[in-house]
């Protein structure tokens, strides 16, 4: 069976058993069971606990072997030393997938590494696929399944999130919710004893609910496997690779050895398979949001509309320094812009509509710039210039996005100025129109769409065979 079929019982289970389900609200097993039930999971749920007859209104069973029906997924939340026994029972029960929440494995030392090897061995022999150990679990807002031990569901959306860190994973979910960024599936991969980033890339590539894969990675065990999956993936991948500065140089008998700190190789390997690298959580979602909701581009020429010269200049600087261009506009475009601009403003790129602009000036100049064949993408910026009308400009951006969809040119918003602005741009966020609070972040969003365009061009050219 392929990875996708292997992983379906784990991420789309018809039935779930929770081993270590508990009546004590202090226990992880309590929280997992609660979260599964709270979010309206429609399959069968079996709490497993030999000491309690009933939890949350559900009859318990002493072990998975006592359950009469088939079980797709077992979530294990008992102390590490008991996990091998549970795994043996799962194997006998012919369970298809296991999520081992428990910690105390490879992350803790030699004894933990042995235990991890032991449960992996049981899983392999029993034909069980395994997530973890040492994981938060996963959250699936599309299918309303919360199989994790921290409360809180992500907003539904098209970005899948894979995280090697459980705690940061929760932070990222709340961050995304705050930014109105919707997620499709959120998976905490833990120690990656069996299921690793490569498997999840394969799985999510086949997932119709996912458009973009966002990842937080600390280390990859099988680099070749990872690169093969990333290369095959038809969807854009954005990844943070943390642990950049650790001295990872290989034995330095050659110049190549001394120059190849592991981060430099990671960086190049990501580029080789067109993974876009982010360096922090905000950047991860900045890029993922642009990739999920704006078209990729095959040219790097950016048009800029601003209501204040400074913002336009800063964006132009960032575009140029990121390898984008801010082209001169054609005579025809200049002539079309002229009647819409006040006499103090020159018709050129960046277009300065000046501080007293209202809806119409934003909308009309934006449409003219988008129609210019020398413009591949448009950044519309607004600074809170006192007399400015940020809410009207938001309306102009929304209207342009809706009217000009067929041009397949990204429209990126850059809104600068405090809490009032933050409130106004909610309208953009709700409509999944990328909006950023800084020139750098807006320009990086355009750059990532340009890189995505190059990735797609190469995929088209690639012979139809998988390497590896």
């Amino acid at each position: 069976m392929g990875t996708v079929e292997d992983l379906r019982p784990i991420f789309s289970p018809k039935s779930i058993a929770v081993v270590g389900a508990s009546r004590s609200p202090m226990k992880i097993g309590y929280e997992i069971l609660q979260n599964i039930l709270v979010h309206g999971y429609r399959g069968k749920v079996y709490p497993i606990n030999p000491e309690t007859p009933e939890i949350m209104g559900l009859k318990t069973q002493p072990s998975v072997l006592a359950v009469k029906e088939d079980i797709d997924l077992v979530i294990v939340a008992v102390p590490a030393e008991f996990v091998p026994k549970v795994m043996m029972e799962c194997a006998r029960k012919k369970v298809k997938g296991v999520v081992v929440i428990s910690s105390g494995f490879g992350e803790t030392g030699e004894r933990g590494r042995q235990l991890e090897a032991e449960i992996l061995d049981i899983a392999r022999k029993g034909g069980i696929r395994l997530v973890g150990p040492n994981t938060l679990g996963y959250k699936d807002p599309i299918d309303n399944l919360d199989a994790a031990f921290v409360f809180g569901m992500p907003q539904k959306g098209e970005i899948a999130l894979i995280s090697q860190s459980g705690a940061l994973c929760v932070g990222m979910i709340y961050y995304a919710n705050g930014e109105h960024i919707g997620l499709s599936r959120v998976i905490s991969v833990g120690n990656k004893a069996d299921i690793d980033d490569a498997d999840l890339i394969d799985y999510l590539d086949a997932d119709p609910a996912t458009r973009v894969i966002a990842m937080y990675i600390e280390g990859i065990k099988d680099g070749k496997k990872f690169l093969d999956s990333a290369r095959r993936c038809s969807k854009p991948i954005v990844a943070i690779k943390a642990g950049r500065t650790a001295a990872g140089s290989a034995a330095a008998s050659t110049h190549t050895g001394s120059l190849s700190g592991s981060d430099a190789v990671y960086d190049s390997a990501f580029r080789q398979v067109h993974i876009q690298r982010a360096y922090d959580v905000d950047e991860l979602f900045d890029l993922a949001r642009a990739l999920a909701y704006q078209p990729a581009i095959h040219g790097n020429r950016v048009g800029i509309i601003s209501n204040g010269g400074g913002a336009g200049i800063m964006i132009a600087d960032w575009c140029e320094s990121l390898g984008l261009r801010v082209p001169n506009i054609s005579k025809k475009t200049a002539e079309a812009l002229r009647p819409h601009l006040p006499s103090i403003s020159t018709a050129r790129n960046p277009v300065d509509v000046t501080g007293d602009a209202r809806f119409h000036r934003y909308h009309a100049t934006g449409a003219i710039m988008l129609n210019d064949p020398n413009v591949d993408a448009l950044i519309m910026t607004c600074v809170h210039a006192g007399i400015a009308r940020p809410r009207e400009y938001v309306g102009a951006v929304i209207k342009l996005v809706e009217e000009k969809r067929n041009l397949k040119k990204p429209i990126i918003a850059c809104w600068v100025g405090g809490p009032e602005i933050n409130e106004v741009v909610q309208d953009l966020r709700v409509k999944n129109i990328p909006v950023y609070p800084s020139a750098m972040r807006a320009a990086k969003a355009v750059r990532c769409l340009y890189d995505e365009g190059k990735r797609l061009e190469l995929i088209d050219k690639k012979p139809a065979k998988n390497s590896g």
Binding site: G219, I220, K221, G223, K224, L227, G248, A250, A251, S253, T254, H255, T256, G257, S258, L259, S260, S262, A264, V265, Y266, D267, S268, A269, R271, Q272, L458
Partner: protein
């Protein structure tokens, strides 16, 4: 059997410069023409184009310059005297003699075993600035032509390879060399640990490997 395989069979980890260059030439990678000998009478001076360079050539001496094992720019008149001086300094070792090469630009190409991704190829501008600026880029082996082209564009010194100040360089030859080194690495992946082609001289037409180190697993 290739030289690499026979060295590996001996259980030796390091190759001498002449062995590395022979292995490269077997793979169609252009290197300098060289002669090797312990005694002066083993060298055919008639075949040399002066000025020449002489280097101590031994699997035991990886960093030749550090031990005073490299003498540059030797004229025909100085040749015998300089050869004997160097061979007295390293009586047990071979001396490698080759003609000085014209250079436009020096680049470095290497192979390294990365613990995550396996054999990985490196490219950067060579010479003394390599280590200061770390202006290098990597790709996991094997690479495609597209990767090689991107590597040339990715380093900060890319404009130098694109004809800065009208210095014409054979970009195509660099790309072909990267592909050849990648293929070489792929072929010997099981036993190759790391390799430096440093420097490689890039000319208006062609490239040539001037010095090279290789270590086996």
């Amino acid at each position: 059997m290739s030289i690499i395989d026979s060295v590996h069979k001996e259980g030796r980890k390091a190759l001498a410069e002449n062995e590395v260059k022979e292995a490269l030439r077997e793979a169609g990678i252009p290197t300098t023409d060289f002669q090797v000998g312990k005694r002066f009478d083993q060298i055919d001076a008639k075949k040399l184009k002066f000025p020449v360079v002489m280097k101590v050539c031994s699997p035991d001496i990886l960093h030749k310059t550090d031990v005073g094992g490299v003498v540059l720019d030797i004229t025909k008149d100085q040749f015998e005297q300089e050869f004997n001086k160097l061979s007295q300094k390293f009586p047990k070792e071979n001396i490698l003699v080759e003609s000085m090469q014209d250079r436009k630009v020096e680049v470095i190409i290497g192979l390294i075993n990365d613990r995550t991704f396996g054999l990985t190829i490196m490219f950067g501008l060579g010479g003394i600035y390599t280590e200061v600026y770390k202006d290098v880029t990597f790709r996991v082996v094997p690479i495609r032509r597209q990767d090689a082209e991107e590597m040339l564009k990715e380093i900060k010194a890319a404009p130098i390879l694109e004809g800065f100040r009208k210095i014409k360089l054979d970009r195509e030859a660099i790309i072909n060399l990267l592909l050849a080194v990648s293929a070489f690495g792929e072929k010997h992946m099981e036993i190759l640990d790391q390799m430096d082609l440093n420097p490689v001289f890039v000319k208006t037409k062609g490239v040539i490997v001037v010095d090279a180190k290789m270590l086996l697993k």
